[in-house]
Symmetry: D2
Subunit: 282 residues, 4 copies
């Protein structure tokens, strides 16, 4: 088994009888041994979401060839990936570094299966940190206008060819076409427990309303700001005595934690988009 590949077969299929009964013998015939399987049939969308991890004697391309005709016939969307290949990830930030620091540290110690292919920012602040960690830093300021800046962002994506773009407190709204191009491969962290407190200064909104818990939300970016499918959320308790500034501080930890979990699950190929929602197969 030492020469085996660990592959992830994932697909979304219209729900009908026989899915598992027909795919599992094909996997067995290809010499694959199922190590994990997560299946979810959504009663609303009538879609079946499947993630199967196999020990395979053949690589991802070979297994894809072997299963392609079945997958094309049964599934809406499918992919077969090597679990040991880190996801190429481009990170965008503005001036706040807490999420970036956290992602870099977790990547470096082996707890996030990503390869950081670059960092883009509309500010220069994070350049020294990235230099220290040997990560290419692109400073794309807003001076030349939003359209020009976004062109630089798009060019960087073309150049670095990431699987995933992470907006790690990137305080610029993407244009609709750009957001649509990135559909399903761009994760944003919003610093509130959505759908509460969309838009700007959510901790100040939360403080003004007097809520007793504040939160953060990691979601896929869509053209509708703060409306994309939610991947993960979490909250922390505050009190009447917590100032808006203190809430910002508490929120930083929730943001970093929630974003890193969303990136990890995406990079482990656990997250499926299901209309306006996600299915996360843990």
């Amino acid at each position: 088994m030492t020469d085996a590949h660990t592959l992830i077969v994932r697909f979304r299929a219209p729900d009908r009888p026989g899915i598992l009964a027909s795919i599992t013998p094909l996997l067995a015939a290809a010499g694959c041994d199922v190590r994990e399987a997560q299946i979810y049939g959504d009663p609303d969308s009538l879609a079946f979401f499947v993630r199967i991890v196999v020990a395979s004697p053949i690589d991802e391309a070979a297994l894809a060839s072997s299963l392609a005709s079945w997958l094309d016939a049964w599934a809406d969307r499918w992919s077969i990936v090597d679990a040991d290949r880190p996801l190429r990830t481009l990170i965008a930030v503005s001036r706040f570094g807490h999420c970036l620091v956290d992602l870099i540290h977790k990547q470096e110690i082996g707890s996030l299966p990503i390869a950081i292919v670059g960092v883009l920012s509309n500010h220069p602040d994070m350049a020294p940190l990235c230099n220290y960690h040997g990560i290419a830093y692109t400073h794309a300021p807003m001076d030349e206008g939003k359209a020009a800046q976004e062109d630089r962002f798009r060019a960087l994506i073309e150049e670095t060819n990431p699987d995933l773009v992470v907006l790690a407190r990137y305080m610029q709204v993407l244009s609709n076409p750009f957001a649509q191009d990135l559909a399903g491969r761009c994760i944003n962290i919003h610093h509130s427990f959505l759908p509460s407190f969309k838009g700007a200064k959510p901790y100040h909104q939360a403080h003004g309303r007097g809520v007793k818990l504040i939160g953060a939300t990691a979601h896929y970016v869509t053209a509708d700001l703060d409306e994309g499918p939610i991947i993960e959320q979490d909250v922390r308790r505050i009190t009447h005595a917590t100032t808006a500034d203190q809430a910002v501080g508490i929120g930083r930890e929730i943001e970093a934690s929630v974003l890193s979990r969303a990136v990890k699950w995406h990079a482990e190929h656990r997250v499926f988009i299901n209309g306006q929602k996600t299915v996360v197969l843990l």
Copy 2:
């Protein structure tokens, strides 16, 4: 000390120097020994919120006489209450009993310092439960129209003279004048993590949006529906696989828990209204 009274002195005062320096000697002069003190100065409203628990040789009326001139001069609002007097509480429900069951049980085993003076409902469903527990039950159906029904509710309040009215999943919106009459002494449980999902069927709204946590909110009733000052909130994790009906079931436990905490803190005289927010001195 066996004949001592445990009294709670609470007040809200405009913030200015010397509040504690002048009240604490007065308490000492009255023979009172401070057992607990919670103080919060709000930097936004510039109000000082104080709750002092004392062991007192004299009763609440006597201590009130003793402190009245100072309190009238320094405080906007004040009260002195006996900590051992349970709060007279009227509960309103509709058809769902989970909050009512919880409040009654906690009252009976001594973990909620309230006396339940009656239960009102627009449905007959909870009558047997109340009869079993020896609690007077008023069935005020909606048949005769909303105004007539609310008149019966108001009449019951006049008759039972409660300190607190608890809407424990009472699925009727109070009229504005009624809500205003009850300002500061009526607690509602809303089955969402406000300000998300105001209005009807919040768990179904949450399910539709695909959030990863659902919650409940206990707040003071105001004329603005679901906008009153929040006393307590809590959340529980759900997943993509949680149906709306399952969310309702999970939510019941959060509702009962959050409502009972809010009622307990109110009954312990820990909650102050501070504009649209609360101060909860724990």
Copy 3:
């Protein structure tokens, strides 16, 4: 599909290739449509845990006949049950009613798939509550000695033939032989976050140690007291100001919540014993 049965096929099998590939075609051949499937392969015990929910045209006995030879050959343990059959449950309590009140309420409103076949107690306190709810109550006091009392407990089990016995704050230690007889079908709630604070008065132990969170643990009963496989745990925050008595009060809610989740998951046939641990397929 209106005449279909919802059946749960669950088994534990030594891990080897081909399990899913051979069972799923058999299910399909029996006319069963997979609605949910949870699979877990444990890397330590090298066991495969499978729970498959199917819409079946035949009933549980017929499906069991159809699959028996495969299941006998591949699985260590297996069962096929009708998801709509509530689990026959006998509850034992002492004097504290909070878990019992919670289980009865959740059963009555349809949120726990159990049928309560009786309540046994070494005290008379809960008799009126059970009478009100129409549940047979057996008062088995300790006066006649522990052995005689346990004989009455055993006789009641023989008589009522429960699938599950729940110790809902039953403050008696079962004898080793009795605990062994009930292995895998008896759930206890321990009022601490095990393995901390085993034995008596755990909230007082926790208070003495100055922990900042208290908890409760639902576990299968084994001959080793407080050492059985853990099904569910939860915690709540306390502070230095929380007295031991207040901790007891806070703990009651955690106990009821944790126990009801464990009972629900067991009654939904989601829990497998895996040596000293459990696998809970949610």
Copy 4:
């Protein structure tokens, strides 16, 4: 008020009547305006813990002179500190950097009121990180024996004169005399929810026991390993499918979060030792 000092007066006093009534007029006489006050009277130790934040026209030394005779007479222990003076903090680590990265980042962005006076480690791994951040790094390897290494640690303490020593995953046990010298000014993070899983490899112990939540504990160091007064704890949910290695990864985030809260509260002069426990005045 722009030239005012924000001072913190904190003391522990044997509980007797008149404490607040006599200290608050003294503060007023010194021109101090109370901004916050937290008071806790412990019913077990019969001690009164007080933290008062004042806006003062005079500095900490002058206020101390002014209050010294009262404080000496009434209090067991007292101090008056300037809230704007960051706490001099020495950090010790071994090979794992997650807590150190977090503490440095929070210090740099102004969310931890500490000044890091140096980092000591028995390994060289964290030297580049400290160099990048401009923090003096002392590599004190174990090669020369435990006693010699501890002498270097003690020498560094003498040289840097820290108010606080933080063991941020420092995997060496301090000798008893050293632990005693540091009593009340040395915080350790233990990677379990104490008192469960003391000693080595707690996540592996937790995995072996099959617990459903893992945690971390920040506590003051005492001669009794893992028995010191607990400042803060937190937990995160795991499942049967969480491997010991994954638990280690999840645990890192809890450790960093819990440790940084404990350090923050200590640095804000909110934590008092109360026998084997702490009082944390938030």
